[in-house]
Symmetry: C2
Subunit: 229 residues, 2 copies
């Protein structure tokens, strides 16, 4: 009967991990950082999770004040979103992701499921941590059927968010399918949008600025020389 999964230490890191250390828990938070999602939205992004486990994580995160549930009477959909405390996990997740970018040698397998949000988050953090100055570049990334995003630079700061449907035009607009966007972003330069099945619109100078900025996103393992040239 003693299902005591707590560490029983007086250490706030241990107590934090009691709440967030279960498998999939931080990935739920990751996928809610860009906005509320439905159960099936989360299932999509976390391929491999079973509905039972996702249900349990959501209930636990709700009990711990990280996630809120929005059930409206007479509506099928249930929306999950982060509480303010949940949003405060953004910097911790950012540090973990950056550590992975710099210390995990593994690179994408040819058939690994990948969601644009996860690549774009890595891109944003890499640009910010490398202090790439993006001026005031506002880039829209459209992935039909999956989602529309904005990657907005303010000097060396980079922000990633979901695009508001009735938002003004961006300086650069990238349109690509899921399967085309990922190789384009994860392959080292020279990047040739057209050849990769990626469409880029905008003023030539803005497009050049964007392509130049993302040169700082070499997802190849550090310490590898460019062999593919």
């Amino acid at each position: 009967m003693d299902s005591d999964r707590s560490y029983g230490h007086f250490c706030m890191l241990a107590k934090t991990l009691e709440r967030l250390g279960d498998r999939w828990a931080l990935l739920v938070v990751r996928d809610l950082l860009l906005g509320p999602k439905r159960f099936t939205d989360l299932m999509d992004r976390m391929s491999g999770i079973t509905p039972r486990t996702l249900t349990r994580r959501l209930r636990e995160l709700e009990a711990d004040g990280v996630v809120e549930v929005d059930r409206e009477a007479g509506r099928r959909e249930v929306w999950y979103r982060l509480t303010p405390a949940g949003h405060q996990l953004q910097s911790a997740l950012g540090e973990l992701l950056l550590w992975g970018l710099r210390n995990v040698p593994e690179r994408p397998g040819p058939d690994e499921p990948v969601h644009p949000e996860h690549i774009l988050r890595a891109l944003q953090l890499q640009l910010e941590s490398e202090h790439v100055n993006g001026g005031s570049l506002d880039t829209a990334v459209h992935v039909p059927g999956t989602g529309d995003y904005r990657l907005v630079a303010d000097g060396p700061q980079w922000d990633l968010r979901a695009e508001d449907p009735n938002e003004g035009p961006a300086d650069v607009t990238i349109t690509a399918t899921r399967s085309a966007l990922v190789p384009f972003l994860t392959t080292s330069s020279p990047r040739v949008p057209a050849a990769a099945g990626v469409e880029i619109d905008g003023k030539a100078s803005a497009i050049r600025a964007f392509l130049n900025a993302i040169e700082a996103f070499p997802l190849a393992p550090a310490g590898h020389s460019e062999q593919g040239l």
Copy 2:
């Protein structure tokens, strides 16, 4: 045979959590951040872990390049220490600990094992995140039989490290047993060192500066008014 604990996503956060997401893994890193430790040192700090689990975590962290093992022929002790990649986890652990300090309402149970290192780490992060200006205050914390530490301020920066045995004197020296130090630090002011069984030495002005600085360490849940006065 398919013990595939990987998420199988192309997301560097997921790949990070494949390495660090197992139970106890980040607590091993936490306890190695202040310097190399032996197997039994780690067992002490992580009360509740079984030797089998600790062994497995250490082997896995070693395989992932986070921990290094130092086995010298003809010596009983085996020392474990962080690799440079392991040290780079400090900021991520710091963010998680800060989240806990601000969002986990639980406070220490009367009989929860607690190690001074864990409290001192929380104190350091809290002072730094609150931008408490400590001037050039150098504080030694001596816990006989457990360890000696230095909490060194450089303006708003606070550093915690193990004390070097042949190091010069500090501005303030705190000497206390494990059982006396923790209540002293975790109880809100007014703190009365003598009454708490804590000895503080140093110039009166330095002692005042230290006691003033740690006023910013209210481990009581946020939003509680001071009842104990």
